[in-house]
Assembly symmetry: C2
Homo-oligomer: 294 residues x 2
């Protein structure tokens, strides 16, 4: 087993991601002391029932005291206030990380508040399910997925190395890239797909009550895959779209142009354009299967 | 085991659906003689290798000779010519059915060609995967899914009852509705979701080579669910969009309006509109889970 990576870890906002990480630490570094922090009493009760932390509290300031690693797992919109609140209580030399889906906004909201004595390593484990809360987490959720770290120019390499080691315990493949690039890539792979899924499921709910129950019954035709995505946490996703609006809106523009082109082909009975397009998209699926992300 | 439902079944176009149905008949009515018909020699070879038919041929006229049930499983665009070709060879009293995803077009293309001595029962088993061809089929694919029959006013009730019994062997829930209504419901549950998935995957393929490989790597964030749908058979889907263009275009209009509203909310930083929308879509997922279609 060897030395634990961290003696004391504070996880603030212990939902799907935070609780899964706690399970990984429990499994591989059982000597690490884990403090779980959440605002809602039910969440903390669930954490105690699941026995995935040594200590629970609703006070982030108390949670970070003496912690070697502080993991921010709240919705993005809570970052700025939270960073300001915990800053004076952070132990010198501690690593602060987050698991948010938009890295420029995370850096903008967290970095200025932190004292120079701590190391900030913004991160994004690209893994998850449509479920939320600590009950939904599991240690294997991260396995074979990518974790993207977006360190600042001033971030100490040792801190990045320690975070890399932690996510490797979770069996993730770890990569570093600039925050701006991360936000563009994720707009395409995650944010736009979620927006589209939310839209189409919403469109279907407005078809009138009769048709709606039929949409549910016959959802196996394709619709249910969208409903799974569109069941993701509303607060988390509201924050993601607001925080990454520029990249999302830019992509949405391209998507709308493409959709208009296909719409035009359908209206004109232009089967060749449709067939060419559909053949091209099949190749992408093959790449994903080869990249073992399917 | 009892009497088989049909003595002799001809399946013309033996892909994912046709081969899965052949497997069901093999399993539950082993005495039924199954004739598989396909244009391509590789497909017929696969059928022989899989031992899911007693006889294979590339000639639809030979296939239907003496058959009590003829199942049309080709792409929709082949229906009209195929119906004309087999019509003179159909046995009086035979049932002709199809498994296509657009029922008004199926009726328009098949019904006028058939002699009055046969029973036409248009059908649509709402089940499938993104894979194609006889190797991809399996008997359990239909289990707990819905099969929609859209009989004509003149279709004999006994013929509908026999088709209902057959799809029940496949463990499907069978329902009847007018073809026009079917096409509207499926536009929402299947055709529009496929069109959107094809669009977004296409949009991502045009982001430039560098970004594209990253889109593949980080697809676990949501994108890969779309790629699965967008890997479906291009010919089949080209035909579906052309055959059900009216209902698809009507829904696409609603979808675009909804997407524009969310786009506007993102641009204006209107988090409440986003949150309300995302909360509403979650409820639909719950209905689908309760309806056991998840």
């Amino acid at each position: 087993m060897g030395e634990p990576l961290f003696d004391r870890v504070a996880i603030i906002g212990i939902g799907l991601i935070g609780s899964s990480l706690a399970r990984v630490i429990r499994r591989d570094n059982p000597e690490t002391h884990i403090v779980a922090c959440a605002r809602r009493a039910e969440t903390l009760e669930a954490v105690r029932r699941l026995k995935i932390a040594d200590e629970t509290t609703d006070d982030p300031v108390a949670a970070v005291a003496d912690a070697d690693l502080v993991v921010l797992g709240t919705p993005l919109s809570a970052y700025a206030e939270l960073a300001k609140k915990i800053a004076p209580a952070l132990k010198p030399g501690a690593i602060v990380t987050d698991v948010g889906s938009v890295k420029q906004a995370a850096i903008r909201d967290i970095a200025p508040a932190l004292p120079k004595t701590v190391h900030f390593v913004p991160g994004h484990p690209v893994a998850g399910t449509e479920h939320s809360g600590p009950e939904a987490g599991f240690a294997e959720m991260f396995a074979d997925r990518w974790c993207i770290l977006t360190p600042l120019p001033e971030t100490a390499p040792e801190a990045v190395a320690k975070m890399t080691a932690l996510w490797r315990l979770a069996k993730m493949r770890v990569v570093e890239m600039p925050a701006e690039h991360h936000d563009k890539v994720l707009a395409a792979t995650s944010h736009l797909p979620h927006l589209i899924a939310y839209t189409i499921v919403g469109t279907a709910t407005e078809l009138g009550q009769d048709l709606q129950s039929e949409v549910v019954a016959y959802s196996a035709g394709g619709f249910r895959d969208f409903t799974r995505i569109a069941a993701s946490d509303p607060v988390m996703w509201r924050d993601i779209f607001l925080a990454n609006s520029e990249a999302v809106l830019e992509l949405l523009q391209r998507f709308s142009e493409d959709l208009t082109a296909l719409q035009r082909a359908i209206r004109r009975g232009d089967g060749d354009t449709l067939h060419d397009w559909f053949t091209r998209t099949r190749a992408i699926r093959r790449s994903i299967i080869e990249a073992k992300q399917a």
